[in-house]
Subunit: 338 residues, 2 copies
């Protein structure tokens, strides 16, 4: 039996999308139990209106709500009864609960995890690892995408180890091709952090290091894992999402601008639906926060039920595959490489 | 009379594209003179095969060729007779030459400019400012996009001043909306460099600072200038280009995958041509290296004649508008703001 806590508030479509996503996961995994964190009367009412295996659902009452403009430090200090902080505390205190999923504030989640939950043995800092679809039909993981705006080569080494294990164990990618994000392919490119990290990653026997990657090649399908500081990783992920979205909107706008284009589009309905589906981040789950002492998955703030379900699925698979213990033993064995 | 040196080697389509681009610019600007830098016999032969105003073209003989894998430091030390280094030296030594355009190695150009040419009075470091098309039909300048992988808030302040003046004077953008690239909109986001830069930019009366920009909004049309360190700026620009290219290729591949999609595309030929044209960086000129003691424009390595022509046009307009003297006086007046 795997027990996963779901923070039901904080997302754009909370709590309905979070509850629906949780219920859908219960159908997929018979040995899954869900703890819904949030205002109990609201959650009870929502559940009573749905057909669900009530015996596999618990409710963790958390009456406080986090506003979208609240500072992370204020949240962890002042909103102890919020759905997010209560879920984090439950994760810390209850050995039977393996993981949590949240669609709430990223900053508050990182701060809460760091102050209330802690990291795995040997981990310096946890790091986000969202996935993006490549144009070859696969996926690429970007680690870190925003938990650490400043890093050292030692951080980047750990990100590489954790993200490689994640892609291998949860997504079955054999020997993930792991690259360092840089401004050019050559080993001497970038600042001293990048040059030192390049040397360390080249010597690391537990990962398949393929050298520096220039950001224009992210979606080419040539890489499975990209290692970077949280600042440029954030730029990498958001620029990709933003450009794809703007471009698809531009295509749509262009089609609507002339009747003859609209006629053409009638022949391509399925094609555009497939393209939109391929680019829909809701299908690729959330951004796993690798290195926490228990599994934490952050869903996009705009997650709908299917995205929440994917996040729970990710958390479940991380648990089922024993990812965290693999990270601990890999760091124990390889973290001294320099 | 404005004299511009054109480095004719180092690009993928050199020297033909560079020569053709130069000749096309001569037609546009009657008071322009061009100095072609490169192997004289080769250049003479190319010119003799073309109709051109020979009296407005000089040749600067530079017999050495820079290989694409050569280290920038080796180039400036060992390739003194290369077309790029000779053009830089001419720019330094000849008061009648105002500007240079190169499609050669970016690293070598930056190193050459720093060691041989120098910066404008008051400038700490020169910075690249390429332009990207927004989805609203305008352009956005990104400064720096790769000349400085590490920066301080004082650098970012100067980038903001120089890039704002550039967009205003060369592209007629009134009060360019200038943003700081960051991982979130709030003033306290990012590392200490970003937070300090935010405070400085907010107080700077000579720019129209509109706050932090998240990278997903780059093409939204809400910004005219984005200020960033050269590492994340490089990621920003290359990710945008890469994603747009990969996505357009994916659309093309999808259309070709089924006959019915091909039929639809017949109705949209002009639409796709327009979209491709809009996304074609060759139409937006090169990446100006702002802050050099004379005007330097770096064209993309894959520049064809039209792109080289646009670069020369940029250099011409920067000169005609007196951009560099405006940068000097703005820095003199506002660089002490903190």
């Amino acid at each position: 039996m795997i027990k996963i806590a779901v923070d039901c508030f904080g997302g754009d479509h909370s709590p309905e999308a979070n509850i629906d996503g949780a219920l859908a996961s219960l159908e997929v995994f018979p040995d899954l139990k869900i703890i819904l964190s949030g205002d109990a009367p609201v959650l009870e009412k929502s559940l009573s209106a749905r057909a669900c295996p009530r015996e596999r659902i618990e409710i963790l009452h958390a009456p406080e709500v986090i506003g979208c403009d609240e500072k992370p430090t204020d949240v962890i200090r002042l909103k102890k009864e919020s759905s997010m902080i209560k879920a984090i505390r439950l994760l810390r205190d209850d050995d039977t609960v393996s993981a949590m999923v949240s669609t709430g504030s990223t900053g508050a989640l990182v701060a809460g995890v760091l102050t209330r939950l802690g990291v795995l043995e040997g981990v310096i800092r946890p790091a986000f690892c969202p996935l993006l679809p490549t144009m070859k039909g696969g996926i690429v993981g970007i680690c870190d995408s925003g938990a650490n705006v400043e890093v050292t080569p030692a951080h980047l080494k750990q990100f590489a180890i954790m993200a490689s294990l994640y892609l291998e164990n949860v997504y079955g990618v054999q020997k993930p091709r792991t690259a360092l994000l840089n401004v050019g392919k050559e080993a001497e490119k970038g600042d001293s952090i990048r040059r030192d990290a390049y040397a360390i990653l080249s010597n690391l026997p537990c990962i398949n290091f393929v050298g520096n990657m220039e950001s224009r090649d992210l979606l080419s399908g040539a890489y499975d894992v990209v290692v970077c500081d949280g600042f440029s990783g954030n730029v990498l992920v958001k620029t990709t999402e933003g450009t794809a979205l703007e471009l698809l909107m531009k295509v749509k706008e262009s089609i609507l601008s002339r009747n003859i284009y609209k006629i053409g589009a009638l022949f391509q309905k399925r094609m555009f639906r497939d393209l939109k589906e391929m680019m829909n981040y809701q299908n690729y789950g959330g951004s796993v926060l690798l290195g926490c002492s228990k599994t934490v998955v952050k869903g996009h703030g705009s997650s709908k039920a299917v995205a929440v379900q994917k996040c729970i699925e990710q958390a479940y698979r991380m648990e089922a595959g024993g990812l965290n213990s693999k990270i601990i033993s890999a760091l124990d064995k390889y973290d001294h490489y320099q």
